[in-house]
Amino acid sequence: MFLRNHWYVAASDSEIGRSPLARMIMNEPIVLFRAEDGTPVAFEDRCCHRHLPLSMGKLVGDRLQCHYHGLQFDTSGQCVRIPGQDQIPPTAKVRTYPVVERYRWLWIWMGDPALADPDTITDFHWLDDPDWGAKSAYLHVEANWQLVVDNLLDLTHLAFVHETTIGNSALAEHAVVKVKRAPNNVVVTRWIIDQEPPPTFQKVGGFTGNVDRWQIIDFAPPAFLRLDVGATPTGTGAPEGHRVGGINMRNLNAITPETETTSHYFWGQAHDFEPHNAEMTETIFQQIQTAFLEDVAVFSAQQRNLDRIKNPPQLDINADTGVIQARRILARLHDEEQAALQMTAAE
């Protein structure tokens, strides 16, 4: 199941240049590159002639040249040269996708281009903000994209999967959890009051005693999870809205489906304490990356079972509230999109 009429992260800005990059998104092969003036471009990665991936070709000025017979395409996707002939059929063109650079990511619109509005790109400004130190990365996940969304909405798993970094038993046993929902949004708020900080927080926060820890998870469809996370020394007023000292971070996640069973996981971690301390940014990043690699192992193991056993029965537990509400929103959006497509087809 894919939701097409949405912006997705296709790549980090540094991945795209004058060498064409091939990337599969929602089972569609895509080629990404930059024109000479730096403008990013996205084509269907298939020459209209004999179907070779255009990503195997090369850029000649602003034209992408197919490796097979040398057809050249300009940045609008129009074929502008066919070696050995002068006339170019007007049907000689490849599909282009709207792309926008923002927050050091390249965003792509996978649906009807007429509906692509850059103002609807989800806000990830912390990744590119002078008041925050931040580092982003990419993980390839051998699992369906919704399993990654699930993982970020139920953080009890930190106590078991990430014991050496961001998890401890308090997260599973002592969290006060509230779930708020709206038609296209879920917010899961978790507070762990007067408990020991986990290893990562001790390392970067210098805590000498117990902390009040928060995890506020914002889900925006299709697959954007923006987490407000941190902790302050206990009893200094964080639950009442006063964050004094301690550490304050954002864990930012954008998942892009590759196929039904694999995903592109773009993520970043930002901090507003010592924001210009590059060593701090790197230390925090390494801690979270250690945790996320543990999640990646979990996702591929889940997917292996799901590949073997069709629609196994599922038990839901109290901690699944946010997960389930998000999946309901996605199912509804998918139904609405399918209904709209059928209406268009009928016209």
Partner: protein, 114 residues
């Protein structure tokens, strides 16, 4: 009012806000307290479908929606309003005294099903 006649003090009135369910224990029984339009209600907190805690769900139009599978129960009576549950939750009498919420251990009569 004392703890005789089956009434138990379960919470302070100040703990119960307008838009949230307050889980509490009535002896060994999980219940939740709700305040709707100034009235306080107490109903069983375990969904009769697959045992989720209703107090973690969503309050809309005088009903509590189970957080897991969207069964619905009328907060005032415990009546089951929507599948996949089919059985009601128990509804208990409530009294307020000196800023404390007391709930009677004898549930009210069967409110019936959908």
């Amino acid at each position: 009012m004392t703890d005789t006649d089956g009434w138990l003090r379960v919470a302070a009135l100040s703990e119960l806000s307008d838009d949230e369910a307050l889980p509490a224990m009535l002896g060994e029984t999980p219940i939740a307290l709700y305040r709707l339009d100034g009235e306080i209600y107490a109903i069983g907190d375990v969904c009769t479908h697959e045992y989720a805690l209703l107090s973690q769900g969503f309050i809309e139009d005088g009903a509590i929606e189970c957080p897991l599978h969207q069964a619905k129960f009328d907060i005032a009576t415990g009546r089951c309003l929507a599948a996949p549950a089919t059985e009601p939750v128990r509804s208990y009498p409530v009294r307020i005294e000196n800023g404390d919420i007391y709930v009677g251990q004898n549930p009210r009569g069967d409110p019936g099903n959908t």
